[in-house]
């Protein structure tokens, strides 16, 4: 949700290496990043910071595992957004766009019930506008013959009171 962007980013990990010259912070070993309601988990996290102080985080999945994220959505008491990627998730805290690479999946939930779900090789999710685009190659563009995109859009039940 929007309030997340003003919250501090907390990171937990097994190890950390900070290169002061290039200002790169590398966390390794079951990394958990939390920021307000946003929770990201993975094997390796690299955080770089631009002179203006914005951070760019890249979260790699452990081999064979997934890098996951979960965040609360505005507009309702229990609306969530979840996603995972087999390779990595790049999160740009200036534009608040998360990019999920290879076998990516993003779904919206109400409570625990998934309302929409999208899968594809690459998904770009703008957490501020809650808008996501899906492409069929892990590099991020759409090319004919790339992977398939699968989208499940649940019917909206009428005036469910939200």
């Amino acid at each position: 949700e929007k309030a997340d962007s003003l919250k501090p980013t907390n990171v937990e990990a097994d190890h950390m290496a900070y290169d002061d010259v290039k200002q790169i912070n590398t966390f390794t070993g079951n990394v958990i990043l939390t920021r307000g309601t946003l929770i990201m988990k993975g094997a390796k996290l690299v955080v770089t910071q631009d002179p203006a102080g914005y951070q760019y985080a890249t979260l790699w999945a452990a081999p064979g595992k997934l890098a996951t994220f979960r965040q609360k959505r505005d507009g309702g008491p229990d609306l969530w957004m979840e996603g995972h990627a087999a390779d990595r998730i790049e999160y740009d805290n200036k534009t608040e766009v998360a990019k999920l690479y290879s076998k990516a999946m993003v779904r919206r939930l109400e409570g625990t019930r998934a309302t929409d779900e999208v899968q594809g090789e690459f998904i770009s999710y703008d957490s501020r506008a809650e808008f996501f685009t899906v492409n069929n190659t892990a590099t991020g563009e759409s090319k004919p013959g790339g992977g398939r995109i699968k989208a499940v859009i649940q019917p909206r039940t009428e005036n469910k009171g939200n």
């Binding site: 907390n10 290496a17 002061d20």
Partner: protein, 197 residues
């Protein structure tokens, strides 16, 4: 074998025997003299400190003559047993020009004889001011081993680090001020504050 050859060989053998006896004898005499001399000087080394300095200030220069680091403290005591020094309230400042000056203080420290290792104990506090390209780094721990000549500080104890706005805790740290890298070896927990927009 004619008797003449055997007598010559016998005489040769006697000569060699005489010479080696003479050589060994001189070694033996030398040994006796050396051992006698050391009996007079008692070699029991003293254990109690043999000197102390109050409010000292010590600057170590590099080979090219510029100051490398400055150590000061309230009291310095020398221990002859292992030729080490104990320091009360030590303050260690690195002075190399091109790197940001780092200041390290603690309640007490033990420094080895050539000053290559400095064990700092209790309330160790490292402070490196911000530079245009890097944030202020502060580290707190209860113990830190400093290698002043290689500009390295390390500990296996828990550390609390503040790096600009963010705070970092962990156990086991290695800081190399020359290559400007910092590593935490376990249970890392960091908190970065969002930039004020």
């Amino acid at each position: 074998m004619t008797s003449e050859q055997s007598t010559r060989r016998f005489r040769l053998f006697m000569l060699v025997a005489l010479m080696s006896a003479l050589a060994l004898g001189s070694f033996w005499a030398l040994e006796v003299m050396r051992r006698n001399a050391s009996d007079f000087i008692p070699d029991v080394t003293r254990t109690a400190p043999d000197l102390y300095v109050d409010h000292f200030s010590y600057v170590k220069m590099s080979e090219t003559g510029e100051p490398r680091y400055h150590v000061s403290g309230d009291k310095l005591t020398h221990n002859p047993k292992d030729d080490s020094y104990d320091v009360v309230n030590p303050v260690l400042k690195s002075l190399t020009a091109e790197r940001p000056p780092t200041t390290l203080r603690s309640d007490r420290a033990e420094v080895n004889s050539d000053g290559s290792e400095m064990h700092m104990y209790d309330n160790v506090h490292m402070d490196r001011p911000a530079t245009p390209r890097s944030e202020r780094l502060q580290v707190k721990s209860e113990y830190m081993l400093i290698l002043p000549d290689d500009d390295v500080a390390k500990t296996e104890k828990p550390v609390q680090i503040t790096l600009g706005e963010s705070t970092l805790n962990g156990i086991g740290m290695y800081v190399n001020n020359a290559t400007r890298e910092l590593r935490l070896s376990s249970r890392v927990q960091g908190s970065y504050h969002a930039p004020v927009r």
